[in-house]
């Protein structure tokens, strides 16, 4: 990012900050917040799918065991009013609030928590086994106490209790048959949710809108402020932008708008635009490289490709300023794990050419060194344009690239099941800890055919594997941080993928809305403190 740009952003952030403090003194009770996102959710629980549309709406209805504050995601009391972790980090004791009821009036108890972790998270959530694999036993000595017994420490466990990651579901809403026959995802509650959250489902008019209404029995005194949260389904990107511009819609979270529209709307006086509030997700994009065959198996070739791409230009031109150049596998906004000593990747086409010559790939007929096929994520126009841009840049250093377009089903199959590709853009999240978000793509035990977003590159580095194993069983602290620093340096040097951009989630909302940004997963928070003028 150029310094002028940075200054501009900093000024904007400062101005936005003052504006919010000036107006945000008196939260007002009542009113409706309407947001838009596409596609429409397919279910109202992240147990069915953690896709963004479902995560956005279900986290207002369901809650996790505890809550989180700030970009660093500091755990604070929620449904569990207190907790204790034993010194050896093998026992977690949670005390539950006694006054919580489900949306259907039944009391919320320790049995529900046990069920939600044991049966739901471990059995059905894609990350459940990662979080709770070491949980050997869950004890419920009374209705309001839950004790987790672990076989080995899990440093990131305390951040696993987010509403989208480990939603608490009522045991009484499932029949024994549904559980025994693994029909949880087809249970009625997936469409007609019963949670403990500040909002409950009022109406779902498929294809049009979902209305959530205030939960009058919510356990937080005086909350939520809003009467209603409405999701308006508007399939067309330009039409979504028009709705936000006209004030028909108050909020376009995350990737709800096409980047050019974000830039345009961000400049309008009645709208606020912010990239804050997604630090706990850590979105990152890279070029995934198939290391099985020459020339990409040669590190120098990958380094040359990395040097041929102007990341700042990519951010500015293709992504309309949404994001910043990546400096490694961990996003720079992650306050707990990013190695701040990492420099930006150099852009140096001449050095790239020298590296390719050295690697034994001189320019041949038509000035071409070799040819490659590029795939890209089927997430929209920007991804196509980025692929075009990269093709152009690589042509400049003598690499001829053919672009190949696939839809999501085809892309997943080709990259993760067939392993039949040269390189492809890819987009993933760091989540709350590198053991969850980073290890997965680079550890050699995850070279597994058919596992999506795994180590499709065939990258195996025993030393790195060892570091991952160490970090996975060690409490957060300077020692663990040192391991993550080394991991980042190794991956930067080896380049099993070519790190491109930390894509920014730009949320755009009407200035009448307040209190949206509360932590590192603000759009997946329950919005109980959001209010409108």
């Amino acid at each position: 990012m150029t310094s002028a740009r940075f200054l501009g952003l900093a000024m904007a952030a400062l101005l936005a900050g003052t504006a919010v403090t000036a107006l945000a003194d008196e939260p007002r009770r009542g009113g409706t917040l309407t947001y838009t996102y596409h596609p429409e959710p397919t279910a109202l629980s992240t147990v069915a799918t953690t896709a963004v549309p479902t995560a956005l709406i279900s986290t207002k209805i369901y809650e996790g065991l505890i809550e989180y504050e700030g970009a660093a995601m500091t755990p604070v009391p929620g449904l569990a009013e207190s907790w204790e972790i034993s010194d050896d980090q093998l026992t977690y004791t949670f005390k539950l609030r006694p006054d919580v009821v489900w949306h259907d009036g039944e009391p919320f108890t320790s049995e529900d928590v046990k069920f939600s972790i044991d049966v739901i998270a471990k059995g059905y959530h894609s990350r459940g086994r990662t979080y709770f694999g070491n949980v050997e036993e869950i004890e419920t000595p009374d209705e309001h106490t839950v004790i987790l017994h672990l076989s080995a420490p899990v440093p990131y466990l305390i951040r696993a209790f987010q509403a989208g990651e480990t939603p608490l579901l009522p045991r009484h809403a499932f029949s024994d048959e549904e559980i025994a026959e693994e029909r949880v995802r087809q249970a009625e509650i997936m469409q007609a949710p019963i949670g403990t959250g500040p909002f409950k489902l009022q109406e779902w008019n498929r294809g049009s809108y979902i209305i959530l209404e205030r939960n009058e029995d919510y356990w937080k005194e005086g909350k939520p402020y809003l009467d209603q949260v409405i999701l308006r389904v508007i399939p067309d990107g330009a039409a979504r932008a028009i709705a936000v511009e006209r004030g028909e819609v108050d909020l376009a979270p995350m990737t709800a708008l096409p980047p050019p529209e974000m830039q345009r709307l961000g400049g309008l006086p009645h709208l606020v635009s912010s990239q804050e509030g997604s630090e706990g997700l850590g979105p990152i994009m890279w070029l995934e490289v198939n290391l099985r065959e020459a020339p990409l198996s040669d590190k120098r070739v990958r380094q040359a490709i990395s040097m041929a791409i102007d990341r700042e230009r990519l951010v500015d031109v293709i992504w309309y300023g949404n994001g910043q150049p990546a400096r490694g596998p961990v996003v720079s906004g992650n306050p707990n794990h990013f190695d701040a000593s990492l420099e930006p990747f150099p852009y140096d086409p001449e050095a790239a050419e020298a590296l390719l010559d050295e690697a034994g790939y001189p320019r041949g007929d038509n000035d071409v060194r070799f040819t490659l096929t590029q795939n890209f994520l089927p997430y929209g126009e920007e991804w196509v344009r980025q692929a075009e841009y990269i093709r152009q840049q690589l042509r400049g250093i003598g690499i001829e690239v053919t672009n190949q377009s696939l839809d999501m089903g085809g892309w997943l199959q080709r990259i993760y099941t067939d392993w039949d590709y040269d390189f492809t853009s890819n987009f993933t999240h760091n989540y709350s800890d590198p053991t969850i978000g980073v290890q997965r793509a680079f550890i050699s035990t995850n070279i597994r055919q058919g596992a999506s977003f795994s180590n499709s590159m065939n990258y195996a580095n025993p030393h790195l594997d060892d570091l991952f194993h160490q970090a996975a069983a060690m409490p957060d602290g300077p020692e663990r941080k040192a391991i993550w620093d080394e991991v980042q340096q190794i991956l930067r040097e080896d380049l099993p993928v070519i790190f491109l951009i930390e894509i920014g989630y730009t949320h755009i909302w009407n200035e009448r809305v307040h209190g949206l940004i509360t932590n590192g997963i603000s759009m997946y928070s329950n919005w109980d403190s959001v209010w409108v003028e």
Binding site: A48, S126, R127, E182, S208, A239, M408, G409, L412, Q413
Partner: protein
């Protein structure tokens, strides 16, 4: 309805069964050719799924069975009108379709009504003034409208009528949370329907104008028109009572054929206007490899198209009494 017509209808309905089943079987095999399945998509969406997780999904959806067995299960269920459960939404496919079908039918019928009505009037007007400035103007206009992409036209209409003039809504089918019932609900839907129906209909206006004009010119060359003129009938009466009715047959044929086409066109219009119809559902189902839902929609739409064509066949009899169903 005469007995002959009744027999004709029944026979045609019986013919529908093998046709629709063959379409369903063809669809099933065609969709199986596409790489990836719903388990891949859900596992992909979940970001951090393991191989075991993906296989668990396949087992839940019955996608782990051999292809012939899946085919057999699907066709057997189809015979008793069981369309199965949507992989992604976990709801019976028939419920999802029935929730969306009315919206699409309202949009399609209104659009085709606008298209046929305006198309006939303009077509007749152009034919009566063949070679004049008015004829050229109508023909050129029709060509221009025909060439405008529906999604662009839709956006332009939104800009004009909802942003600039602020008299029509920019999208949706009802006012959210208004809870209208009865007449108020009908008016609310109609108010939301104007822009999408006009957008979808305008493209076809061009088609019908051109067709009606050509058809009218053909009829104008026939002897009975000369007879009518000799009798001293007014040009207006000749055009509307004698020529137009005869010229309508090809228009009716095209209506039937184009219903399937219209269903395709409605995807774009439903997308731009957020109209909660089948078009958008089919698009999302395809991207998400929601096989049961996709097959269900294709099944229902093939039934709709086949039945619509039957209705058109019956209309022939009304338009031209010389046509008798045997």
């Amino acid at each position: 309805m005469s007995k002959a017509t009744l027999v004709f209808v029944l026979r045609r309905l019986l013919q529908v069964i093998p046709v629709v089943l063959a379409i369903a079987a063809f669809n099933f095999l065609l969709l199986k050719l596409a790489p990836g399945d719903a388990a891949d998509i859900i596992a992909g969406q979940m970001g951090h799924a393991t191989v075991e997780f993906t296989q668990q999904l396949r087992r839940e959806f019955g996608l782990d069975l051999p292809l012939w067995e899946q085919f057999l299960v699907y066709m057997t269920r189809l015979l008793v009108f069981d369309l199965g459960v949507s992989h992604l939404q976990g709801l019976p496919v028939i419920d999802l379709i029935l929730a969306r079908l009315p919206a699409t039918l309202i949009l399609m019928i209104t659009a085709i009504f606008i298209a046929v009505l305006v198309g006939i009037v303009l077509g007749v007007a152009a034919a009566r003034r063949q070679g004049t400035l008015a004829d050229n103007l109508i023909s050129t206009l029709a060509l221009v409208v025909y060439a405008i992409p529906a999604f662009w036209l839709g956006l332009m209409l939104i800009v004009l009528f909802s942003i600039q003039l602020d008299i029509l809504p920019s999208g949706g089918m009802v006012s959210i949370g208004a809870g209208h019932t009865g007449l108020a609900h009908v008016l609310d839907v109609a108010w939301h329907l104007v822009l999408p129906a006009v957008t979808l209909g305008l493209f076809y206006v061009a088609v019908y104008t051109r067709l009606m004009r050509a058809s009218m010119l053909e009829v104008y060359g026939l002897d009975f028109i000369a007879t009518a003129r000799a009798k001293g009938l007014s040009e207006g009466k000749i055009a509307w009572t004698h020529a137009a009715r005869n010229a309508l047959l090809p228009v009716a044929t095209l209506c039937g054929v184009q219903l399937g086409h219209l269903l395709g066109g409605s995807i774009l219009v439903e997308t731009v206007f957020g109209w909660p119809g089948l078009g958008r559902l089919v698009f999302d189902a395809l991207l998400q490899r929601d096989l049961n839902l996709l097959l269900g929609i294709l099944f229902v739409s093939s039934v709709v198209v086949v039945i619509a064509n039957l209705v058109v066949d019956l209309l022939y009899g009304l338009l031209d009494p010389r046509i008798v169903h045997k």
